[in-house]
Symmetry: C2
Subunit: 369 residues, 2 copies
């Protein structure tokens, strides 16, 4: 069975280097927020092109801490409803009010028209999710918001699926106020467990977020910042991430090549037209199909796993039923048609061919673009 992702296929290849990281860790004597965390934060900030990187325990924590630093408690935050719920979970954790925008039918990323429609002077932040690996140009969002309100609203880039994607010369995460990353193992840059990071060019926000990740301490054992919690990246995970980072570009390119093979075989990949662009890092090979259930069963017969990212909109959550009802016709329509095919850099040529053959055999499910 070909899985949709397989981080072990990468780690087994570089297991000796992973063991060297463990050796270095065991030879040191810091376990939390030590030199390996510092090194990774510096190299990741450098790679993304941001002044500061603050590593944290997970991608969801990254968004939560970013929203807190922006003072979003009890205020409205704009976001999409088709990105797995992590933005909503972060909003609800701090008592912010999610206000959902619909998505663009051709990219399934947030619709700028929808942002313009829903943004008001009460909006405290806009979460822009670079879904499936395609980076949005945050300048366009900012220009549109300014045209309506005559001012900017802080933008939080959710880069959990877009490590390394570039809009012109700026990498996802460095375009706007704050960038949030997850290093969940299946990500384009994944740790060997949970992890996350926040990047920013704003020194004041950086200091605030650095304090928030460690109990909101102003000095050891004195909580000064409301909302401070414990959210730190392990030294060992930081060491692994420093090892993996130099492989990211090449592995992103390999992902794009896989997607291009699927498109050649007739798959209607949502981001097919970006498959040659550095703006796209092919985190998830999401396609749209008719009769998804039957398609999934057919691929299963060919030993090809599939996924759905995501089967629910955030507006479906029992936890969001108290919010004002909203209509998201494009998000709703896409929800029943999206399907994710296997895509990870270590796929063998044979595995890629098998998926392509399964696509060709099931061409009738792919809609005309």
């Amino acid at each position: 069975m070909i899985q949709i992702s397989n981080p072990a296929a990468f780690t087994i290849k570089i297991q000796d280097q992973i063991r060297s990281v463990v050796d270095r860790f065991l030879g040191g004597n810091t376990f939390v927020l030590g030199s390996m965390v510092k090194e990774f934060e510096e190299s990741f900030a450098g790679y993304i092109g941001s002044r500061d990187c603050i590593s944290v325990a997970s991608g969801t924590d990254a968004i939560e801490i970013a929203l807190r630093a922006l003072g979003c408690e009890e205020k409205e935050v704009l976001l999409v409803a088709n990105a797995g719920g992590y933005g909503t979970i972060s909003c609800l954790a701090i008592g912010a009010i999610p206000v959902y925008c619909d998505v663009n039918p051709s990219t399934l990323l947030v619709s700028i028209e929808s942002i313009v429609e829903r943004v008001t002077s009460n909006t405290a932040a806009i979460i822009v999710t670079h879904l499936f690996g395609l980076a949005i140009d945050c300048k366009l969002v900012d220009v549109a918001v300014n045209a309506k309100l005559g001012k900017s609203i802080p933008i939080v880039e959710d880069c959990a699926q877009a490590h390394g994607a570039k809009v012109d010369d700026r990498r996802a995460g460095s375009q706007a106020t704050i960038g949030c990353f997850s290093f969940y193992p299946t990500k384009n840059l994944g740790a060997l467990g949970d992890g996350g990071a926040i990047v920013t060019n704003d020194a004041t926000l950086a200091e605030h977020m650095r304090d928030l990740r460690q109990y909101g301490w102003s000095t050891r054992y004195l909580q000064a910042l409301p909302g401070g919690r414990n959210s730190r990246l392990d030294e060992l995970q930081a060491g692994f991430l420093s090892l993996f980072l130099p492989y990211l570009e090449e592995r992103n390119a390999q992902r794009r090549e896989i997607l291009k093979e699927y498109v050649k075989s007739g798959a209607t990949a949502v981001h097919a037209e970006h498959a040659d662009s550095e703006r796209y890092v092919a985190h998830l090979a999401v396609c749209t199909v008719d009769s998804r259930e039957k398609f999934v069963a057919n691929l299963n017969k060919e030993n090809v796993s599939t996924g759905v990212h995501y089967p629910f909109l955030d507006t479906d959550f029992p936890t969001t039923q108290h919010l004002d009802p909203t209509t998201l016709p494009v998000s709703e329509a896409a929800k029943t048609r999206i399907v994710t095919l296997p895509c990870f850099p270590e796929m063998t040529p044979n595995e890629i061919s098998l998926v392509c053959a399964a696509i060709e055999k099931n061409h009738q499910f792919f809609e005309a673009r």
Copy 2:
């Protein structure tokens, strides 16, 4: 310089076994909530004597999730103010109202009289912290609460400093409604990074907490439980903890022996009279001294590090200034007199002798008991 704790002294001794855990991890293909987490949860529940163990990302997260599962939001939670603030941080994270109890002057653990004074039918939970490694008999708390209210209030045992401590036949964590553990590296049972766990005998609470640690999902990607966040123990850390657990009893005994040497040398250790009891696991060798600043300087000259656990009461935090003022005379008085001496199982006989000599040389700082 002899540090107050030194987890690296343990890990270096068993580095080959640690590498074996890494090898096993690299040979598997699960990275989050996989077989190594499951194994550790089972063995830790078995060791503590609880039905269920739910591993999480940190000890603070453990308390937060426990309080959420008990429905403490916007309700009063009783706790002490001299335990480092983790209980307060957890309360504030979920919008519960901390109500502080004073401590017993001889143990510096929560005073049952103070609980009786402050508990009301509005109290949603009582956090009982087994501070410095001495377990409180939770039955006494329950009996006292019942005598006043005619009913029990859920008790959350904060066992971050008391892994393995036993009250009669029950280990700390299994005495009350829920037990919370931190596996911060310096703990008696410490991971090689952040980690925590919750134990309980209540199957319904266990299921609730298991869902809360993973976004509050009822099914993958559907948030059904308010307050659900991401708080998981890494597979690797679970593997390390399974390796370390069988050493816990012996290492706790070694800690007690060190404390006894200090007492013989004249140190007024807060928990000296429990140094032979399994109720005490000597997590921190806390003593009380006059003129602490001078004492600390003198020990520093003898190459003996000291700490203060803790230099602030929770009532000192800028984040608690909105609460009703409270007087905690015993906690306040202890705050300026407590000092922590080095205590970890891998201390060499020579290191222990050096600390004992420093104690003897500075006998004038130790108060008469």
